[in-house]
Every structure is written in C-alpha cells, then in structure tokens.
Subunit: 187 residues, 2 copies
C-alpha cells in the first residue's frame, strides 16, 4: 500500500509576513495582540478557523507561530496550539521545549485550549500558557471544546505550568464573532 507522509506547511501569507527580521515583543499583551492579529488574518485569508497561537521565549522572540488550519491541511489535529508547539519543537530540534527544565517558553493562544490541545500542553515542555477568549466564548459561536477535566488551569499549575487567562479577552472575542458573523465553517 502507498502511505503518505504528513507534511504541514504554514500558509504563504504568514511565511511572507514573518520573512523579515523579528522585533521582540517583551510583554504578554503585545504577544497576545500579535496572536489575535494572526487569528483575524487567518479568517481574512480563508486559511482556517478563528484561532491562532505562538510560542515565545522569555525575551519576546517568536519561536513559532500556529494557526488553525484544520480544513486547509485536511488534518483535524492541526489546531493553532498544536501547530505552534510542533513547529517550535522542529525549530529547536527536540520534543521537549523545556530542554530538561533549562528553557522557559510561553504558549500564547487567542482562546482557551480544547480538550486535545489541553492534553498536549504538558507533553510539550512549555512553562507558561497565556490565553485570551474563554472556553465559553468559543462555545458561544458553536465550536465544541470537548470533555475537559474540571479546574484544568489548576491541573496545569500543579504540573508547574503557569496559566494567565482573559488577556485581551474582548479583542479575542471580537475575532470569534467576526468569523461567526461571516458564516465561517464550524467543525
């Protein structure tokens, strides 16, 4: 039988946008603004759902961005957080972003993770999660978040992963609503 490989590329518009030099974004708020702008552009370009994420180092350098490209990549695991984590690992050459506890990276996501992405976070080695829109904001436009354990942010904290919620929540919700009002596919 003929087995394919799994080959996932970021959309060309994002590669073009990030082609030049990177100016560090030291604050979590600036990082979230960048991520929300990616989610908005992902809708505008028609490359996927209203979700984006990115992994940053402590100096505010972008390690890797991610977008929800489930439909365009024909791959249900290609949520923004998953792609950002996987690309960050490819760039750093390890499945463990913490490098055995020596590296402290942050995953910034425009919305709270679904059950799959939540489960992926402890395996990735990120030290911190920063999220914009809440779970209920995502469900309000019709997306399913899956069966998550109660008190999920406390569960991450107990594993040493710091969680910051509601950062620029209103701006993140505006992107979700814009997608919904434009009749974007819900899956």
């Amino acid at each position: 039988m003929d087995l394919p490989e799994l080959r996932i590329r970021l959309p060309q518009w994002l590669l073009d946008q990030l082609g030049g030099a990177w100016e560090p974004l030291p604050s979590a708020e600036a990082q979230m603004r960048f991520v929300i702008a990616l989610a908005r552009e992902n809708i505008r370009q028609g490359s996927g759902g209203p979700f984006a994420a990115a992994v940053f180092d402590p100096q505010g350098n972008l390690v890797a961005p991610g977008l929800n490209i489930v439909t365009s990549s024909r791959c249900s695991i290609m949520h923004a957080e998953m792609l950002a984590l996987a690309l960050a690992q490819q760039r750093l050459g390890s499945h463990d972003l913490s490098d055995g506890g020596r590296r402290h990276l942050t995953l910034v996501a425009s919305a709270e993770p679904c059950a799959m992405c939540l489960g992926a976070i402890p395996w990735s080695g990120v030290a911190r999660l920063v999220v914009g829109a809440r779970d209920e904001d995502v469900r309000a436009i019709g997306f399913d978040e899956g069966a998550k354990p109660e008190h999920w942010s406390a569960a991450l904290a107990s594993r040493g992963i710091e969680v910051e919620r509601d950062l620029l929540r209103a701006e993140a919700i505006a992107v979700l609503r814009a997608y919904s009002e434009a009749g974007g596919a819900i899956y």
Copy 2:
C-alpha cells in the same frame, strides 16, 4: 525568520513491511494483533515508544498505521493514535474521517489514549475505538497519561463513538513490560 515545515515520515521499516498487498483483517482481534506487533517492532527497531495504533475500515482494510515516534520525530504530539488519525485523513483527503457520517472507521490502539489523544478522537471522525492495555497498565511502567475526564469511555459513547476495551490486554501489557525492562526512555 526561517520557519520550518512539519514533515513527519513513518519509519522505513514500517513502509517496507507494508509495501506489498494488504490482506484484510476482518476481526478486531486480528487488527489488535497487528497493532501490538507494530508496537513490539517499534521498540525492537528503536524508532519510538511501546505504542502503536491503526485506522481500519469496516472490511478490515488498513487505512493508516501509527507509531509513537515522539523522540525520533522530535515532536511531542506524535503519539501513535495522532499519527494514525492524521495519516488516515491525508490518505482520504479530509479532516473528517466520517465523511459527514457516511463512513465508519475504527481506531485500534495498543493502549488506552492519553489526555491529548482522547481529546483528538472526537475531532477526527472515527466511529469506534478499540484498545488493549489500560490506562493503569501504561502508568505502571512510568508513562504519564495526563488529566483525563472521569468516565471517558462513556463520554465518547455519548458522542456516538463506540469503545471496546481490554482486547488482548495481556499481550499489550507484555509489550509495555518488555520496553520497561529493556530500559526504554519514559517521557
């Protein structure tokens, strides 16, 4: 900045093994034997952890196999179930393996899914999950399964995903133990 693509290949030994014609495996037990043999070979070949999975159609044709290749692919999301689901979607050309409810595929996994893989299953479109070793068997050799909701199999059932547990559990446990006794990496 220079962004990589995500490019995941199955190990060459598996591509070689599956290079010829495929003889259908109509029973769940035969499918599980195939999957457990893949997990055993993954250890022997040094290509990853003691976990394998595969997606089958109702006639017992293999749609796609998966192996845990976290360390060799340098990607923490590359659990066996995730790779099998993603490759099945690439082969069928859609992020929805159910094709809107018209297709009934089964994911067979040598062990119960971790929190991430459990979260991924409803998004994939598989209609049925068959597992060998239990969550506690996996934890017994030191792997972390993550924070899963209680009654996870009932939660899948409530979404219309049938779950069969404990199929060839003893054989599946034997592979986990062999890996542990050989001093395989736990991550």
